[in-house]
């Protein structure tokens, strides 16, 4: 019984996570410039990945694997924040140098 509820909840979380991913990809595809795209996809991706990790964590239960999942999520958050910053800065510099020209 408990297992069925856990399966249902984690399935629902997976779908929510996928929804955010798809929204992010749609934004990447349709939005006009780099900063807009970046804004949308970093947020949507982190949220979507959070939901997916949560769904997997429910399946895993209390174990070392759960700790690994959390570490993976934190590392990805760290890296994606830096990535977003670097891309945004590059785009910003490009814009500036275009204006000067």
């Amino acid at each position: 019984m408990i297992q069925i509820i856990i399966n249902l909840v984690s399935g629902g979380l997976l779908i929510v996570g996928l929804f955010f991913f798809i929204a992010g990809i749609l934004a990447l595809w349709r939005f006009p410039d780099t900063l807009c795209r970046l804004h949308a996809i970093t947020k949507a991706d982190n949220l979507g990945l959070g939901f997916i990790i949560f769904a997997v964590a429910l399946q895993v239960g209390w174990s070392v694997l759960l700790l690994k999942l959390i570490v993976v999520y934190l590392l990805i958050l760290y890296a994606s924040a830096l990535n977003g910053y670097l891309i945004a800065q590059y785009a910003h510099h490009q814009d500036k140098s275009n204006e000067v020209k």
Partner: protein, 325 residues
């Protein structure tokens, strides 16, 4: 035999269309980005085919290090693309006949291989490998294959890596001055590197140790170390550039030398070259793996550093104008 599921077919179609994108896209930058995605999807297909060792190596090397190298090459190249203009294909009797022969040959080989997969495939070498696994000192069969059964291959392969590094060194100018950088490097990147590199070194150590009993091993750990080195190089370029110091040189040859020394030691005790006695096999493999990890990591970092900095002095090859004054 297992029948292919729809997700298998999707994965294969994805791989093929990504490859088409890499080769066909008009924009080389997009081609390289698609190539990185291609590497990640290949890693997915390795996991599908029960080869997690390969997935680890492909994700770190195929998608990570090679992707970065291609990006750097494109940036260095700028707008212009180097191509062999004089080598364009011309249609005459020779090229047509040799092209047809090539096509027949490739299709013949491919059909042969596909046919062998289609009729019920044999067991391969699964049983012999697992039968004597307890004598190899490790319980991960892939590690047993590359560092015990076929240690010769791995020895020569480490030699090839060393040769690649040597040839890149040989093409570099003999500059006495230390490399100093005048460019401004990003503070955020530097603090990120400071935070994450210790974790990467830890993960490399874990992969190295885990290689004995689960997916992992010297190559994956070396790739991880190489990634850490590249990150360090990105955030503080002058730090790792100089590979001419004694420690760096010794670390570059550590893998190759440890194979040589342990192989010769084995011969002194009456075994064959690179034949580990079963009670010492674990120690021998661990020694060789640790040294190789160090060498692979440093080689990848050094290759990246050489490609990234313009270490080629134009005066050696061509006494004309320099393109980036």
């Amino acid at each position: 035999m297992a029948a292919a599921t729809p997700s298998d077919i999707l994965l294969c179609l994805l791989i093929l269309s990504l490859a088409l994108g890499v080769l066909g896209d008009a924009n080389p930058f997009r081609g390289v980005i698609i190539f990185i995605v291609f590497g990640l999807v290949m890693a997915l297909s390795w996991t599908r085919l029960d080869a997690p060792d390969l997935a680890l190596a492909e994700a770190a090397l195929g998608a990570g290090v090679i992707g970065v190298l291609f990006l750097v090459a494109l940036r260095k190249q700028g707008e212009k693309d180097v191509s062999l203009a004089t080598q364009r294909l011309r249609l005459n009797s020779v090229t047509i006949i040799s092209g047809l022969l090539l096509i027949v040959f490739i299709v013949y080989l491919g059909a042969l291989g596909v046919f062998s997969a289609w009729k019920t495939p044999g067991k391969g070498l699964v049983e012999p490998v697992y039968e004597s696994l307890h004598l190899t000192g490790v319980s991960n069969p892939v590690t047993a294959v590359i560092l015990n059964y076929r240690a010769y291959d791995t020895f020569l392969e480490i030699g090839v890596l060393y040769l690649v590094m040597l040839s890149v060194f040989a093409l570099q100018p003999d500059e006495k001055a230390k490399f100093t950088s005048t460019e401004q490097y990003d503070r955020m990147l530097r603090s990120y590197a400071r935070g994450i590199v210790p974790f990467m070194v830890l993960a490399a150590g874990y992969l190295l140790w885990a290689g004995a009993f689960r997916p992992g091993g010297a190559f994956q750990a070396g790739a991880m170390l190489g990634g850490a080195g590249i990150l360090l190089h990105l955030s503080r370029p002058a730090m790792l550039l100089d590979m001419r110091g004694l420690v760096a040189r010794l670390s570059l040859v550590a893998g190759f030398f440890s194979f040589c020394i342990l192989g010769i030691l084995a011969m002194l005790y009456g075994f064959d070259f690179l034949q580990w006695p079963s009670h010492l096999a674990k120690h021998a493999i661990l020694t060789v793996e640790t040294a190789s990890t160090l060498s692979i990591g440093l080689t990848l970092t050094g290759l990246y550093a050489s490609v990234e900095r313009k270490l080629i002095s134009p005066a050696i090859f061509y006494s004309g104008e320099e393109d980036n004054p």
